[in-house]
Amino acid sequence: MNKFSMILLLAGALGVSACNNPDRFGAGGAGAGGAGGAGGINTASLGDPNDPNSPAYFNQTIGDTVRFSVDQSILTMESQNVLAGQAQWMNQHPQYNAVIEGHADEQGTREYNIALGARRANAVQEFLIAQGVSPARLRTVSYGKERPLAICSDETCYAQNRRAVTVITVGGGV
């Protein structure tokens, strides 16, 4: 019973070649540079924070960030005040658009946190629209737990990471 019948087991299906093209998307996109700008979006140059017409003023003086409670996307009164200031600035500066980034803390699964970040970004977007900002000037993106602002693993950091950030972009490009 000398059976050496050959059976073909495999034909080249899973040979893999490596791909390396580090310059394809410039300086990292998707907030990789820490500036918070989404890849493919022209983040506006910030300008002088003392100039009320500058995005830097928007970011620092009005405040580009609002925070959320655990697993929530409800805007607190404090957040609504910040967002009212954001809306007013945007209404006065129609040359700018914005991408609203939603974020979650690390205490959650990856997919759920993307969906949760989307809820938060959308809550901000709807508030700004209600304050008169044109929907055409706003986009949302969720980073889930991929881009924490603070990196410790306790509530002091988690509270900073549960946020939505309004990133001012150059108008007409979104």
Binding site: V16, N21, V99, T109, R119, A123, S153
Partner: protein
């Protein structure tokens, strides 16, 4: 920088049996996996015989990989070669069972390796039940290019595992995952693929955009994943052989994520975000017409098909917290299946159909667990600061997942655990790694 693909061909043949001493003395050698093995089965794997001098290195390495595969399951324990009494010098010589019995080896794996002048390896092996004093199954012979020596070794180990456990093996398989580097607030992520044991890593994307949660097609030739390349999370499909990827479909304006193939590979189910709300859709490949499967103001995500393709398990927070639900493949009223304390996410149906693996969050800890498809018999297999994202070995007996450590210096690593909760192990990777997805058993 693409590389020329090698066509590889592993061939298998059955060997003539060794002259067989007669009677069995005990019951057949068998491990029943479901019971959870407490005392691993001792086996001996004397160095495979090199049939020619150029095969010596391969013979040694292949023996090591076979032994490592078996011992790595936690079901087997290798008796070191230094303890062996018998010396195997000829693959076809009769087995001196008494010598193996004396060191309490219950299973014996012998092999030989020849390297042809054409660069092809020919690897033979036999498995013996020492206490019964007879071979377990026919001897087998594998042929393949010498650069595939690891795969040949995994195939030998799969045969041994399969004969002793009665289950199909999982060693000749690959894992696609996210390779991580950089600080926690600016993590760089790129897709990579490796053998199930961490060997032979190759990168599939660069790290210029965040990539998440790759998933194999049922034939192992393609990978779905989520990329932030456009600035927004969008599903892409990558062909592994050519290392080229394209967007799954043109669904402009929405975030799409959490994709998974249907068992026949013809459909993709995934999450779509619109106006802050996330629901589950299905898209037949080749069409641009997504079909909406859920329609609720809550978050519906992380869908996974049952292996027969008839049902979909997913997570939803419609009850107020993340829980697991099962619905018919075309959508329709879902049935909640998770009822324990805490939150449940990332459900994945076992390839055997019997169990659903999930991530559970409770009292500040994360767990990987399994439950039956109706939600009964929940068992937690792990516990840590952050365990998530289970993926099944092709035989449905082992789960791999991401474990992330706490703090500013925290990083992710891949771990595996068997379905009895035993044999928790770190999967060796060069750097930090997350989001593993296990391939089917390779052909």
């Amino acid at each position: 920088m693409s590389r020329i693909l090698r066509n590889l061909c592993l061939a298998l043949a059955v060997l003539a049996p060794v002259a067989m001493p007669a009677m069995a003395q005990n019951g057949p050698l068998r491990i029943v996996i479901e019971e959870g093995v407490i005392e691993p089965l001792p086996f001996a794997a004397p160095a495979f015989i090199a049939e020619n001098p150029s095969a010596a290195e391969f013979a040694d390495q292949i023996t090591r990989v076979v032994a490592a595969d078996l011992a790595g399951t936690g079901l087997f324990r290798e008796i070191p070669q230094s303890a062996h009494i018998a010396r195997v010098t000829n693959f076809d010589a009769p087995v001196s069972y008494a010598d193996w019995k004396a060191i309490n080896a219950q299973a014996l794996v012998t092999g030989s390796v020849a390297l042809g002048s054409d660069g092809r390896l020919n690897v033979k092996f036999r498995l013996f039940d020492v206490f019964s004093g007879q071979p377990m199954g026919d001897g087998l012979q594998f042929g393949g290019g010498s650069d595939n020596w690891r795969r040949i070794a995994h195939k030998v180990a799969d045969q041994v595992y399969s004969r002793i456990t009665g289950e199909s093996g999982y060693f000749d398989s690959r894992v696609v995952f996210v390779s991580e580097s950089g600080p926690k607030d600016q993590r760089l992520k790129r897709l990579a693929i490796m053998d199930y044991d961490g060997a032979s890593v190759q990168y599939l994307t660069d790290s210029s955009a965040i990539v998440l949660a790759p998933r194999f097609s049922p034939d192992g030739s393609r990978v779905l994943y989520t990329s932030y390349e456009t600035g927004f999370p969008r599903i892409k499909m990558l062909d592994i052989a050519s290392v080229t990827s394209r967007p799954l479909a043109d669904l402009s304006g929405n975030m799409t994520f959490a994709p998974r193939f249907s068992p026949d590979g013809g459909t993709v189910i995934y999450s779509v975000e619109q106006g802050g709300n996330t629901d589950i859709y299905a898209l037949a490949l080749g069409s641009n017409q997504p079909v909406r499967l859920t329609n609720a103001p809550s978050i519906e995500t992380a869908p996974s098909f049952s292996p027969d393709g008839s049902r979909i398990v997913f997570e939803s927070d419609r009850s107020g917290t993340q829980q697991l639900y099962v619905m018919p493949v075309g959508g329709g009223e879902p049935t909640r299946i998770s009822f324990g304390e805490g939150r449940y996410g990332t459900p994945v149906w076992s390839p055997r159909g019997d169990l659903i693996a999930f991530t559970k969050q409770n009292a500040g800890r994360f767990h990987i667990g399994v439950m039956r498809a109706d939600g009964s018999e929940e068992r937690l297999l792990t516990a840590s600061f952050l365990d998530e994202g289970p993926t099944w070995a092709p035989n449905g007996r082992v789960i791999m997942f991401t474990r992330e450590s706490a703090g500013a210096g925290g990083s992710a690593q891949l771990y595996s655990v068997d379905i009895s909760g035993r044999n928790l192990r770190a999967v060796p990777t060069e750097g930090a790694a997350s989001d593993p997805a296990w391939s089917p058993l390779l052909p």
